[in-house]
Symmetry: C2
Subunit: 338 residues, 2 copies
Amino acid sequence: MSSRPSARPTIRDVAAQAGVSRQTVSRVINGDPRVAASTRAQVERVIAEIGFRPNIIARSMSRGRAHTLACIAPNLSDYTFARIIEGAEAEARLHGYFLLSSSAPDVETFAALIDQLVLQRRVDGVMVINPYVDDRYKHLAESAPASFIGARSRDPRIGSVSLDEGEAAHIASRHLLELGHRRIAVIHGPLAEESAQARLAGCLSALREAGAEPDLVAGGDWSAASGYAAMNTLLAAGRPFTALFAHNDRMAIGALRALREAGRRTPEDVSVIGFDDIPFAAYSDPPLTTMRQNMWQIGEVAVRQLIQAVEQPECAPEHLNLHAELVVRQSTARVTSA
Amino acid sequence: MSSRPSARPTIRDVAAQAGVSRQTVSRVINGDPRVAASTRAQVERVIAEIGFRPNIIARSMSRGRAHTLACIAPNLSDYTFARIIEGAEAEARLHGYFLLSSSAPDVETFAALIDQLVLQRRVDGVMVINPYVDDRYKHLAESAPASFIGARSRDPRIGSVSLDEGEAAHIASRHLLELGHRRIAVIHGPLAEESAQARLAGCLSALREAGAEPDLVAGGDWSAASGYAAMNTLLAAGRPFTALFAHNDRMAIGALRALREAGRRTPEDVSVIGFDDIPFAAYSDPPLTTMRQNMWQIGEVAVRQLIQAVEQPECAPEHLNLHAELVVRQSTARVTSA
DNA sequence: GGGTGTCTTGTGACCGGTCACATAACCGGT
DNA sequence: ACCGGTTATGTGACCGGTCACAAGACACCC
């Protein structure tokens, strides 16, 4: 029938076979109600018969929308990021979008990605995890709808989703204080990141409120190795402490190992609380008390925001703050001696 | 100048401004050498001036290629999968492709994804992690170039990358045997998966070769919780063993916890070896001896294979087998008593 | 001067959908 | 019979690039 023998059938092939116009076929595949039931049945029969599937790229072309979103994270294998992406991907698909996730370890890569994804119109919008590390947010400009994750956006046109870090850090600190701890060590994340700053601020304010002096503070880079090193530094300082608040679980687990090696028992000698509730938190020795944040939900919400920004640009973007939840396991206990 | 005031400039706008034809602009942006140097300079000036960026979707449209690949995994947050995807994404970008990663927990989702991604031509090819769980491979048919990860493809037209699981399991088992262990328990993964089967086969053959009787075997679903449960089952069976080979690190870590709770010390009473070398393996208590597999590389190689299948369909697909490496930490030791 | 070759550039059609608009058919009301 | 309104369908242009092909300019050669 058609000129091309084995090529994929197009909307025109269907139209010819069914004896209708292209537009009618287009209406059928788009569920337009303005098609007679008999015509629709006929067209659907032909579609099934010749195995026609609409070409999404052509549709994107004429509709001027890629139906694809991007998520740019510093990397894709960190559990926190991976969960956010997983949630985002599921939610995007629910709304008929696809999600292209890319890792941008540095600003240069980030800028290149924005060019290829956004300026070259491969995606309709972009979600950025940790936009304020290394000034990457500057490369966004007015290029496309965006949504930030992990830091409240300073640009009024860009929505954001983040955890109420201050509140969460406050809750974690109060947990230790309520167990009677007063000499509390802290291992925080890189202060270039908003979330690290906010966690530290929330934590210090809680300690000060309770009259505890936060004089044992060390920093890490979120990795277990850095938590291990930070704990060794704290131990070497020689000042006594009965509890530790590590600002993520991986550093907490590294610290746990350093404590073990130094002969300090957890929680008998030192209580430890982490942050995130990664799957291994429940399997560390001892199982880790931590602040659970719902990463999946963060991804979900960010996608919804982004889709709104894409489809209803006139709507003012929102800034959402989610809440973390205390999960008490066995790494924290009431302080024993004074 | 142009009719649309603030719309994004197109190739025609550039052509008009530069006083050349569309085709010449097209040649410039594609680096075609058949353009006079002066013309090229002029066109490039206009491009920079009006901030023209080619629309990738339009290009995909006329070239009939999406310049995008997909990777479908059971989920996106498992460290193993996330690393594969991370490696694949980086390699894809190096070759001018983008990677769309999606999670398909079941066959129905998988089939729907194949329809949307492949049949509707959003991507040029698809990488499938664990294609032989629940018959998902059946939905691929001739639809598009594909490349399998984690299982050797049974379809001659499809390439694959996998670990030499048998060899790796053999090496791990021999490590325990060489330490003098004879009563070795095994916790394997779901036998619906090829890799689990192959690991178990390699492990059992090594044990038999050494005359050790593999009579303590339990199964898990790769999760730490399942490793914990499996170890409790093994302990409840009451038969003595001095070593455990858990077929991934997460189950090993779960088992470690069960052993600890049962008062068995690692490695003094029971040596434990895992598989994968996830980041936490180095921070478990004790640090876990394990088989390291290079997930990133697997993703990289799979993308290269896929791109070849897309660009040179006439080339015969390959089946690659990568090798795992033994990493000795502190969870395995020479057997103490007989 | 005419033929042949290379280099550079331009034209019209096309990829596979969708949009805006036109047209035809049918209904009831007066 | 005429009008307005609704429903069903078709037409040509268009999205923004690329392809195949044509054609002008110039040099070289006999």
